[in-house]
Amino acid sequence: MKRVYVNEQWCLGCHLCEYNCAFANSGLSDMAKALRDKPIFPRIHVEDSGKIHYAVSCRHCTDPICVKSCIAGAISKVDGTVKIDREKCVGCLTCVLVCPYGAVAPGPSGAAQKCELCLENSCGAPACAAGCPNNAIVYEER
């Protein structure tokens, strides 16, 4: 299946992916309305350490430990995509406790959220990859 992959040599550390992600998942059509002067809750984040920059988002693991660990049975893997049912999630953050990549975080309501590959929002494919100015984030089969 296609996943999001990151090549850190090409990452500029611009954090644009975070904005594109937050916008794509906001459900709004105006970027300024969605993001300006607001705390944003992107499902991808860029880690900067000295001269190193790279983006991190859900790896959609072959054997996802978050699915096995969720105390509410709210995380499942459907056709290769790991998804969180926000209605079932109680915000205990056990998924945050176990994700080895640090790719799950609480969203605005306190429920956990993570990259779901933009498959169900209006983008249809990951907005982070589409908007990356230097192809440091790609969406492809490997």
Binding site: R3, Y5, V6, N7, E8, E47, S49, I52, Y54, A55, V56, R59, C61, T62, I65, K68, S69, I71, A72, G73, E87, K88, V90, G91, C92, L93, T94, C95, V96, L97, V98, C99, P100, Y101, G102, V104, A105, R142
Partner: protein, 411 residues
């Protein structure tokens, strides 16, 4: 066709069913459930009282789970195992035969023999959905609640009912809250948050005797209450395992393949005493992720596959009134402790011989899983990595090569 029999219907049983079905799509699976409920998320019983979930939403698996996995679900209580005939007898005399048996019997509340407990009118334990529903019926806005036990169960219960009762007092013989997972300073932060939300504590003290609606404490104090919740601790349910001659310590002893010492019998979940890699020996790790993973491992091996679960560690993520805490691993006395105060919280890392052996995070728990993975995998860290790790959990702790495998490959 293989006959698989699972006693218990909680998280470990679901793991076991999914483990079996990943390996054997056809064998017959029978589940014996002591509780007359579709499988539900047990830790959500306090969230139910708090109004953060509903009976519908707290199903651990979709309604058609048993059907889809071709599972025969029986409500009843297993009372006897016959290892020669390879059968289990239920309370209603029904006899079930197995080729492979998995004990997922969980644990039950331990209620010490308090003097005068029988004189208490409204008393509850807090373990099952039925416990929660019974407690809910007793709640009223003026009720004074005494909870015996300031562990995970007692405190989650307190949070769950806080808005629905008059007052809550929690007592515990330990000198701090959450003593099984937190040290004194970390526990004090959590206690403070609970107190800010109206919960009172009597620590280093516990009830020794009851007279109707009055508790007589070890310290000599007296506490008046309307509702009593007993959350002192739990005990693994090992009766069937003992009958089957399985080795039993605090729980049913299992190997890293979830086999007990009796052939064709497996055990998983809170009733099992499996390998804890953080201390290098067997221990009951009564946490939900462990129950699932043990169950899955048992299921695969019951169905003739091969799975090993050898990296279990204690780990907990729990929050009260918006203050989260995440902990994992062990805290040996000779470990170096690296501490960082954060806004309203604290971070403590316990480092020994170039490895992270345990941590406690209060407040900011973001990306805690990076730390948990270092504990689980016993990752060897050089000085540079340790310096990165002390700053915050990130993939910068790893070499560029390792990172490119994590972010550029299928994992």
């Amino acid at each position: 066709m293989a006959e698989y029999l699972i006693i218990g219907n909680g998280t470990a049983a679901v793991g076991c069913i999914e483990g079996i079905r990943s390996t054997d799509p056809d064998g017959n699976i029978t589940v014996v459930s002591g509780e007359e409920h579709h499988v539900y998320s047990r830790p959500l019983i306090s969230y139910y009282l708090e109004g953060k979930t509903t009976l519908e939403k707290m199903r651990y698996r979709p309604e058609d789970f048993y059907e889809k996995n071709n599972v025969n679900l029986i409500y009843g209580r297993a009372v006897k195992v016959d290892t020669k005939k390879m059968s289990v007898t239920l309370e209603n005399k029904k006899r079930l035969f197995y080729d492979k048996l998995c004990l997922c019997t969980g644990s039950s509340p331990f209620v010490p023999p308090f003097e005068g407990l029988d004189t208490v009118e409204k008393k509850f334990t807090f373990m099952t959905l039925d416990d929660s529903l019974a407690l809910e019926k007793a709640l009223d806005k003026s009720a004074r609640v005494l909870i015996v036990g300031a562990g995970l169960i007692g405190l989650k219960c307190a949070e769950g009912i806080a808005e629905r009762v008059g007052s809550i007092t929690v007592c515990d013989l330990a000198d701090r809250v959450l003593s099984s997972i937190l040290d004194s300073e970390c526990a004090a932060l959590m206690q403070h948050r609970l107190e800010e939300n109206g919960i009172s504590f009597m620590l280093g003290d516990t009830a020794v005797r009851f007279e109707g609606s009055k508790a007589f404490m070890k310290s000599g104090a007296e506490v008046e209450f309307d509702i009593l919740v007993l959350a002192v601790g739990v005990r693994a349910e090992t009766e069937l395992a003992k009958q089957a001659d399985c080795k039993v310590n605090r729980g049913i002893v299992v190997g890293t393949d979830m086999r007990t010492t009796t052939p064709d019998i497996f055990a998983a979940g809170d009733c099992a005493e499996g390998f804890d890699s953080s201390i290098g020996q067997n221990r009951v790790l009564a946490i939900l992720p462990n129950a699932y993973m043990q169950g899955h491992c048992a299921g695969v091996n019951m169905a003739g596959g091969s799975e090993v679960f050898d990296n279990a560690v204690p780990m907990n993520s729990i929050g009260f009134f918006g203050l989260h805490c995440a902990t994992a691993g062990s805290y040996p006395e000779d470990a170096e402790m690296s501490q960082q105060k954060t806004e309203g919280g604290i971070k403590r890392l316990f480092i020994k011989e170039g490895r992270l052996c345990g941590y406690m995070l209060i407040g900011d728990v973001c990306r805690a899983g990076v730390y948990t993975s270092l504990v689980r995998e016993k990752t060897e860290l050089d000085e540079e990595s340790i310096a990165e790790m002390k700053k915050f959990p990130s993939l910068a702790i790893f070499s560029a090569e390792k990172r490119s495998k994590k972010l550029g490959g299928v994992v």
